[in-house]
Amino acid sequence: MTRPLLLRGGRVIDPGRHLDRVADVLVTDGKIAGVEPGLTAPEGAEVRDVRGLVVAPGLVDVHVHLREPGNEDEETVATGARAAAAGGFTAVCAMPNTDPVTDNQAAVGFIVRQSVRAGLSRVYPIGAVSVGQKGEQLAEFGEMVGAGAVAVSDDGRPVVSGHLMRTALEYARTFDIPVADHCEEPTLAAGGAMHEGLVSTRLGLKGIPAAAEEIMVARDLLLAELTGGHVHLCHMSTRGSVELIRHAKARGVRVSAEVTPHHLCLTDAACEGYDTHAKMNPPLREAEDVAALRRGLKDGTIDCIASDHAPHAYDEKEAAFDDAPFGIVGLETAFGVAHTELVVGGVLTLPELLARMSAIPAGLFHLPGGSLGPGTVADLCVLDLNAPWVVRSTAFHSKSRNTPFVNRELVGRAVLTIVAGRVVHEHENVTAR
């Protein structure tokens, strides 16, 4: 039985209920008991002064790679959950491209057990679409959902077969789960290391054209329309994709889409000097794409932000650009980057950003949390938006350090992360006033 917890005097933002006011938040029995000014602390309650700070639903990330089982030197469920907690995330969804692939109920159950054992932020497994992510035979969605999977995806690679994607969308309807697709036409993207454009031409690196993503986005939208299934499009990166999704949503297609913090603020120019920390898939695109992704996120065409947290050992990125793996870690910089670029940068209001990092993704994947409504699970975060901080990868809780944001000054970070009423992360030097 955890002690009751009273967070006193913070700016409480509950985007799902359009609430934004200074109030106290009382947590009892792991649930939200009340959000009001001037609440009295119950007997034995822990009271924390959070004046000057923001209290919000815990952040939710529907796209992370935690590398367990298979690459525990890069990340584990426990270290990933720890990094999530440090970033203000109370729930993350782990992609199934582990080794072996998370494509059956036993493997899904393993992730759930590791998450419970870690006792930090919640880790929800995503099951594979196809057995071994080979793109041939459907995995057992029903049993995986029974074991705790919240979605299916072959992320890391696309579902190449149109027939398999169609079947997955139809079959997933029974269990009301989204099919999350990594949109990449493999013959166009083959061998590519970065965005195809002027920078790739100059650097002499093989490019991945925007069309490689957009062809699959268009296909998935048509198949979602055909089947009535819910397709969730991972890490959108091009202006063309935004346009395709906008049209599909206008037609009523069941589609949701995510974008990463890095695709919202970096361009292919980050690859200059062959910086392997700017190598990710989909690749960083052009300024026009960044602008379109921001507009899409603002107007709801892109539903939410997801980090695509992709840990890699330091020596894997210490290689020639062509030989380095794709991906960067993101859990511990996602909120800071998004807040600095989008809220301080004047693209979104703070409640709009918080909706896109908590209530909306939780709703899309039917996860508890994402709300401060009375009686909901007490997953929340306290954010300090006052003090700028500088990204130091050596301070990461993640096992990996591969980020292009090292030494960048950000505004906004989680100082307190609470899961089911229990503090799972607390940052020192809180600048509460």
Binding site: L203, E318, D322, D323
Partner: protein, 319 residues
Amino acid sequence: MTVTLGKDLVGLEFLSADQLRLILDTAEPFKEVSERPIKKVPALRGKTIVNLFFEPSTRTRISFEFAEKRLSADTVNVAVSGSSVSKGETLVDTAKNLEAMRIDMVVIRHGASGAAQFLGNRIRSNVINAGDGKHEHPTQGLLDMLTIRDKLGKIEGVNVCLVGDILHSRVARSNLWGLTKLGARVAVCGPRSLLPRGIEQLGVRVFGRIEEAIEWADVLNVLRLQLERMEKGFIPSLREYYRVFGVTMERLERAPRALTIMHPGPMNRGVEIDSRVADGPHSVILDQVTNGVAVRMAVLYLLAGGRPELADAAKGGVE
């Protein structure tokens, strides 16, 4: 103000016009060394140089080796046939090992773009790029420029067209940067499937037809077309390539003026170039090879800290 080259030569893109002229001018006195009965000067005596080749190469490696030996450096050739998977690891470990052996310079050829810069950023020794992936081949660009200057007396205002597979060509990129910086007009000509995206934005003209390129150009630099391009589906066949883009005698005869013909080698006779053109009176293909040694001597000499005004004296033998 004295112009210097810095620690490494990884490409021509970030060199200034003054730096390019410095190398070309320094190459002039070194040309004569190769014409002597005793082809050796003591300029780099006591320097150790490793020729580190991750890709097979005959002429570039030999050209560097002659340049090093004619400057009296001690050289070691390392040929690594690493698998593509282990390339990265090999590269970083190789760099550390070389550093530990206290060498002075590394000449590197590698299949990955950026490999020379990667190495240069990690070791104190001078690094010279002898071709990295599809990125740059700076000494080839320099020897092409020297050859144009020899033949036409200038680079500024000359129309140079690169013909063939621009997409995969490091020679094309080095030529493009070097020539445009020294005031030449550069164009490319080849099938659209072998031209990189946005090439026009780098300040070059694009010709879709070889006849148009020939009409415009003073110099054609004909690139090697690799058989693999056909296998990977970039062009339908070598036969058709020759018919549409081949630099033939018939096409050159229709040109308004005689064109200087260059080729970085090795040539595919009858694929990108007609033998009669390659062996004809306007071909400077073998002059390119000769100039390659002089340009590489100049680069080695300058990176080792040699002073350009002393290049003439250095070759005289100051033992």
